[in-house]
């Protein structure tokens, strides 16, 4: 969704147009949920966080500066809220088991589930800073520049965090025999 399109929808939202709101939610719900899920490692927390993200974004819509991309703005809220949520629930919940729990399917499905679980665990082993850049790069498909805008850090820092995160992740996955 382009920023012009986003901005037109925001203006409609500010005029009380709920159809515009539905369009915005429809567009950003899944990517925000996925970013939160990959940072938090738990779908319930990710769903709660996604709700909070949208609530805060629209509560403070008047503070949104159209000079910047709405995409970057709502992702910044999502990352901050995910990290806040992470701090709240740290060590209180196990990693999501839902993907591998229940009925076991064919071997290929089980392998995919195991791989997904290992990768998520590899992400959880990273520090928050490292995990955030990996999530934005690989799960939200952001460029260095977009990550820089979202996290409000220089591109150079984005690159160095990403390189270090990958090294850590390689080692983590190798230790699990995934890599």
């Amino acid at each position: 969704m382009g920023n012009n399109r986003d901005y037109a929808l925001i203006e409609r939202c500010q005029r009380g147009d709920r159809r515009a709101l539905e369009e915005m939610v429809g567009h950003y719900e899944k990517p925000i949920f996925n970013a939160a899920y990959r940072i938090l490692g738990n779908p319930d927390d990710a769903a709660d966080t996604t709700q909070v993200v949208f609530m805060k974004a629209f509560e403070h819509l008047g503070q949104y500066d159209p000079k910047y991309k709405f995409f970057s703005w709502i992702y910044r809220i999502a990352i901050n809220e995910s990290i806040n949520q992470l701090k709240r629930v740290k060590n209180s919940q196990p990693l999501d088991d839902t993907e591998v729990a229940g009925t076991r399917g064919p071997d290929a499905t089980v392998e995919a589930d195991d791989l997904s679980r290992d990768i998520q665990q590899g992400l959880m082993d990273l520090t928050e800073d490292y995990r955030t850049v990996v999530v934005l790069r690989h799960f939200s498909e952001c460029s260095y520049r977009q990550i820089s805008e979202i996290l409000q850090i220089p591109e150079k820092t984005v690159k160095s965090r990403l390189y270090s995160a990958r090294q850590s992740m390689k080692e983590s996955l190798r230790a699990r025999g995934t890599y």
Binding site: D17, V25, F33, Q51, L162, Y163, R166, K170, L173, Y179
Partner: protein
């Protein structure tokens, strides 16, 4: 391994490498087995991460999100522009204005502000005009929406145009009449006594636009005069915009 080579390999697998950097990297890869191994490992990790499917959010998440968001007190608008295109001659006699004039107080329109004016003068003019002919033109528009209903009619008799509003709104509704290049200008404003709220307290004119705030049941009339008597008047270009804080859409259509 040199920081520069690590940077080039990462930029390459991220698709953020420039053409000159690519040449530089290719040269390094040709000569360094370590660099090739590193690139291969990072590429494998990259592919693993990118192969992870997006997870579907809970099916009720969007409803929960939408339910909790209260949008700013925005406004819903619709326009009646163009609806007067079916402006047709009908015989309405003196009745169209007589009922109105009996019960209205009239205010002379002064551009920029609305102030009480000479009631008797305008009443006399209207009656006098209608007395000359019973042939008039009329067009009614019926409005219906949640918490809002009413009619707007445009009447013309002997060069005098009157927009009659009979509106009933639960929420405050802004009514904006635009004359643009219609060949008409605002000539007066009349308010039916007994309105739930004083219309005249909220009338404002700016150029060829008049704004009225409506709340509750209100009846008022906007008198229009020809800016150049004798020239063609384009009633199709009259616009009437309604906006309120209601969520629902209004529908305006010519009354059958």
């Amino acid at each position: 391994m040199e920081e520069r080579i690590i940077q080039l390999i990462n930029a390459d697998i991220d698709g953020e490498i420039t053409s000159s950097e690519r040449q530089e990297l290719e040269s390094v890869l040709e000569s360094s087995a370590d660099a090739r191994d590193m690139r291969s490992e990072l590429l494998k990790l990259n592919n693993l991460l990118d192969s992870m499917p997006m997870k579907e959010p809970p099916t009720d998440l969007s409803h929960k999100i939408l339910d909790q968001i209260k949008l700013p007190a925005g406004k819903k608008t619709f326009s009646l522009a163009g609806l007067f295109s079916s402006f047709q001659p009908v015989t309405v006699g003196v009745a169209f204005a007589a009922g109105l004039l009996v019960t209205v107080s009239f205010y002379e329109m002064i551009p920029g502000i609305g102030v009480p004016g000479d009631t008797a003068g305008m009443v006399g003019t209207m009656v006098s005009s209608q007395a000359r002919t019973t042939q008039a033109v009329k067009n009614d528009i019926f409005l219906e929406g949640d918490g809002f209903s009413g009619t707007v009619s445009l009447n013309e008799n002997a060069g005098i145009y009157v927009l009659n509003f009979d509106l009933d709104s639960e929420n405050r509704t802004d009514v904006q009449v635009g004359l643009g290049r219609t060949g008409l200008a605002f000539g007066g404003f009349a308010e039916v006594k007994g309105n739930a709220d004083e219309v005249m307290n909220s009338v404002a004119i700016s150029g060829s636009t008049l704004k009225v705030q409506n709340l509750g049941r209100q009846q008022f009339a906007v008198f229009l005069r020809e800016t150049h008597p004798g020239e063609v008047v384009d009633t199709k270009s009259i616009t009437i915009d309604f906006s309120s804080n209601l969520d629902s859409n209004y529908q305006g259509e010519p009354e059958s």
